[in-house]
């Protein structure tokens, strides 16, 4: 399934780009993160706890940052698995200037397996939107903190 959307931020895109790829920022911004480690340049391993309905569980995952083109775009290759199944996602993030702030466009092709897949669009889309929303809220806070 495809998950896509856009989000407005107050700060400039250089700052946003930096924050979005800072392991410490990510570790604090991603919901339910228990561990987020850089295991090699641009490669991270993490443990996340998701507490929503049938996809509740602890997931271990790998994230690889590719095709970095600061401050405009980058690509993420994400793999995660836990008891309720797993996902693989290929995501592209584009940042563009808009007024004084930045507009982020994101598009991810998500392949799921196990219970997660069987729940399909009925639940996964909603859970993803919820988690992404929490993530953006936290990033927004950090942007504002830096600007202050």
């Amino acid at each position: 399934m495809e998950i896509k959307g856009e989000q407005e931020f107050n700060g400039g895109r250089e700052l946003l780009y930096e924050l979005l790829l800072d392991p410490d920022v990510l570790a604090s911004a991603l919901p339910g993160v228990e561990r987020f480690e850089e295991v090699a340049p641009d490669r991270y391993e993490s443990t996340m706890r998701v507490g929503i309905a049938s996809v509740r569980g602890t997931y271990t995952g790998r994230v690889e940052v590719l095709e970095q083109s600061p401050p405009e775009s980058y690509r993420l290759r994400i793999e995660g698995s836990g008891k309720p199944g797993g996902i693989r996602a290929d995501a592209v993030v584009d940042l563009s200037e808009s007024g004084g702030g930045t507009t982020m466009h994101y598009r991810a092709d998500v392949k799921a397996r196990g219970t997660i897949a069987r729940l399909g669009g009925r639940l996964l889309g909603g859970v993803a939107r919820l988690l992404i929303g929490q993530f953006f809220k936290s990033i927004e806070q950090q942007v504002d903190d830096r600007a202050a």
Partner: protein, 796 residues
């Protein structure tokens, strides 16, 4: 001399006797597999693949094995040292299929490892702790793409994923050469036709969804070297044969038991990997083991049904006479061939002659492997698919010619005086009389009134249509020539001391009500009360031999065996009775069973009670010359042919103009299953069948995404028909007995699923015909119907 003054006993055959099974089943007093608890019993859980297609690179069982209470963790490769590939019951070539995958997985849900633990929950947790690494392969999901060169393949040696290919045409296969006859006549018929119908149709994949999921308990007794397997199966005797073979045991070392079984619908014919694994692991672990399927596992791993794609062509004259049929069928059989997988789609072509005289037929069948759950029998098993294709096509022809759907069928019926009738596919229909059945259905439904009602509704701006279908199907499977396990059935009848009767049947029921119908038959045969009769089934240590329950064979084959054994037991009772009445010079041939007595026909004063004679049989002093004590007889019945019941279904469907939601307003079924033992049970079978047939037409569909991930693996996503979706069914019947068994009974288990599906779709197409619609794919989803309305601008 005593004459018992018992009450006159009414004849029970043909009466609506309530099912004797039901009180215990609905009061929680019945024993299903999950109710079986043995001392020291361990529990199995399966680690299953969550990808559709891939190579197993590694399996790490260490974390699972270390958990407290886990007795054993075993991978497919390790288990293969104890269990070989699973046997199948068809003569077609098949790839190796292990109970637990050894090197590759080919569908989501395929087991890769097994845990044996102290309780069910621990076993599940341990299975979750097993880590499997796969190298993923492209999933093969669309059967037509699967056949293209260059597509990923599931099995070595099965190029383009093709499992089975068959072809016959013209006037069928020449029995001498087994080659297709010259079929230029088919091409000629289509060239000369006044009118042609051409349609691609999908008969979609369904999940059988028995109320009770599968389950097995296995107990291997070391020292005794004896295995007992309790399983939710339709055929314990076949289970015994196959599990013995897989375990390297003789049939004398295996007892298979089907306790109460909560529905099967064909999906419990197959003997599954879990049954073999339970047997093998009980021997390995030295303890009884249990596995009970959960509902998600049922959706993922219990065989699916249907999934046939048909390219159907009909040729006809302008007066409606059908002159030819061409059918190209592609069967999506899933990842493996299990017990009857490859045979099921062959029944589709065999039965596509329907109730019509078809001068020429061409039939092509390709069975294709895909990365999906394997298919096997599901209520009707091949016949609903064929009759759906045919009855949809005939309906399209009627529409093309602006003929009444009843009249175009009447015009093409096989006439009553042509039975037994040989079809183009090589079958011989035993008996049939279609016109009275059609007339009765039209009368019961008030067809003319329905047409007027539809037209009046349309005038009000409502979207309403009427549909009709006429099916013939094949029941009473046998004979042995066509059933790989043997096509007979076995029964035993014992008259006990005190004149009570115990009978056994190999037709192991799972909802058919044999304990009632078979007792009705024996009650009438011996003229004793129903309460004096017990019918035992489902346990190979009690029922000496048997085949099982599928293809509506309980009554037509199992009932015939019962009556044959009862005849032998009755003869012996009469001999003992005559011996008791030597002073009256009575000959056994003069005796009849009447109201609990054995009496000289027409002379009740010359009689002995049934109980007296039974007591004498076990203490025969003096033993009549040439006789052995006791009355316990058995019989194998081998039918000479299948039976071919038929029927006419009529329905009315309304579609909401704004939402596209369909509503079934009326459902009439007039079925002919030959002689009826218990009309109440026949009605029950028709009710259930109609619900499932309507379920296919309107609601049900197993859906996979493009990666082979099933997205309909719960009742939230797979829509089952509910009572509120169904109108009160209007049932009636005609009676055309079969000559192939002494009962004249044909079978009725599948009837409802065969006639109703095309009937309801025909009604939906009729409803949308004013919008230019000529065909609608199943299920009749509101969205699909709404789009068809919108494509025409919402205007009829």
């Amino acid at each position: 001399m005593t004459i018992a003054d018992g009450p006159a006993l009414p004849k029970l055959i043909g009466e609506r006797v309530k099912r004797r099974e039901d009180p215990r089943l609905i009061q929680g007093q019945a024993t299903y597999v999950d109710d079986i608890k043995l001392p020291g019993m361990l529990h199995l859980a399966f680690k299953r693949s969550d990808i559709a297609h891939g190579v197993i690179k590694s399996i790490d069982t260490s974390a699972a094995a270390e958990m407290e209470g886990v007795e054993l963790v075993i991978t497919g490769a390790e288990l293969a040292e104890h269990l070989g590939p699973m046997p199948i019951g068809t003569p077609f070539p098949a790839p190796d299929h292990f109970s637990v995958a050894t090197d590759k997985v080919r569908y989501v849900g395929e087991p890769v490892a097994v845990v044996v633990a102290e309780d069910r929950y621990l076993a599940r947790d341990a299975a979750d702790a097993i880590e499997v690494e796969y190298e993923e392969l492209p999933a093969v999901v669309d059967p037509e793409v699967a056949m293209e060169p260059g597509s990923a393949t599931l099995h070595e040696g099965f190029e383009r994923n093709i499992a089975v290919e068959s072809y016959w045409g013209g006037t069928g296969v020449n029995p001498e050469t087994a080659q297709p006859e010259d079929d230029s006549a088919v091409d000629a018929a289509f060239e000369e036709a006044d009118v042609l119908v051409t349609q691609r149709m999908l008969n979609q994949r369904l999940a059988p969804n028995a109320m009770e999921p599968r389950g097995v308990v296995a107990q291997y007794e070391t020292g005794r070297e004896y295995l007992t397997v309790w399983s939710a199966t339709q055929n314990p005797h076949i289970l015994r044969t196959l599990v013995a073979a897989m375990m390297g045991l003789g049939e004398h070392q295996v007892r298979a038991v089907a306790p109460e079984v909560g529905g099967g619908f064909g999906c419990k014919i197959n003997i599954y990997g879990e049954e073999y694994v339970a047997a093998a692991l009980s021997r390995l672990a030295g303890a009884p083991v249990k596995w009970i399927e959960d509902r998600t596992e049922a959706f993922l791993t219990t065989t699916h049904g249907r999934d046939l794609l048909g390219y159907i062509d009909l040729a006809a004259k302008s007066d409606g006479t059908i002159t030819g049929l061409k059918a190209r069928i592609i069967a999506d059989i899933g990842a493996y061939e299990v017990l009857l997988t490859a045979m099921i789609p062959t029944l589709t072509g065999l039965m596509m002659n329907g109730v019509y005289r078809l001068p020429v037929v061409r039939h092509e069948l390709t069975e294709v492997f895909t990365n999906k759950t394997p298919t096997d029998a599901y209520r009707g098993a091949g016949r609903p698919e064929g009759l759906y294709f045919l009855e949809r096509a005939v309906d399209m022809l009627a529409r093309e010619l602006d003929m009444d759907p009843a009249e175009i069928r009447r015009k093409n019926f096989v006439p009553a005086d042509e039975f037994p009738f040989a079809t183009q596919s090589g079958l011989v229909y035993d008996s049939g009389n279609y016109e009275p059945c059609l007339d009765k259905a039209l009368e019961v439904a008030d067809w003319q009134g329905m047409l007027a009602e539809r037209d009046a509704a349309r005038a009000e701006g409502r979207i309403v249509g009427v549909g009709l279908s006429f099916y013939v199907e094949v029941c009473g499977l046998g004979p042995s020539a066509v059933v790989p396990t043997g096509g007979w059935e076995h029964s035993g009848v014992t008259v006990e001391r005190g004149g009570k009767v115990t009978a056994t049947t190999g037709a192991s029921p799972h909802g058919q009500g044999n304990e009632t119908t078979f007792a009705q038959m024996l009650a009438d045969h011996f003229s004793i009360p129903l309460e004096d009769i017990t019918i035992l089934h489902g346990d190979t240590s009690v029922v000496k031999q048997g085949i099982g329950t599928f293809g509506s064979r309980s009554q037509a084959v199992g009932g015939a065996a019962l009556i044959s054994a009862a005849g032998k037991a009755g003869d012996k009772m009469k001999q003992f009775a005559a011996a008791l009445m030597t002073d009256q010079e009575v000959s056994p041939e003069d005796l009849v069973f009447e109201d609990g007595r054995i009496q000289v026909e027409g002379a009740p004063e010359v009689s002995k009670t049934f109980a007296e004679v039974a007591d004498f049989a076990y203490v025969p002093v003096p033993l009549p010359p040439g006789m052995e004590p006791g009355v316990s007889e058995e019989s194998f019945f081998e039918p000479e042919n299948n039976t071919y019941p038929f029927g006419c279904h009529i329905s009315m469907v309304e579609i909401d103009r704004e939402t596209g939601e369909p509503r079934l307003l009326k459902m009439v079924a007039v079925d002919d299953c030959g002689n009826v033992i218990n009309p109440l049970i026949v009605d029950g079978q028709v009710h259930g069948g109609l619900a499932q047939g309507i379920g296919q037409a309107m609601f049900e569909e197993v859906v996979y995404d493009e990666d082979g991930q099933p997205v309909t693996a719960s009742f939230m996503d797979y829509v089952m028909p509910r009572a509120a979706d169904l109108p009160a069914f209007e049932l009636d019947n005609t009676v055309t007995p079969t000559p192939v068994n002494p009962l004249g009974a044909k079978g009725v288990g599948e009837a409802g699923t065969i006639g109703s599906t095309p009937c309801v779709v025909n009604a939906a197409v009729d409803a949308l015909a004013p919008f230019g619609v000529t065909h609608i794919e199943m299920p009749l989803r509101p969205e699909r119907l709404w789009r068809l309305i919108q494509e025409n601008g919402g205007q009829s």
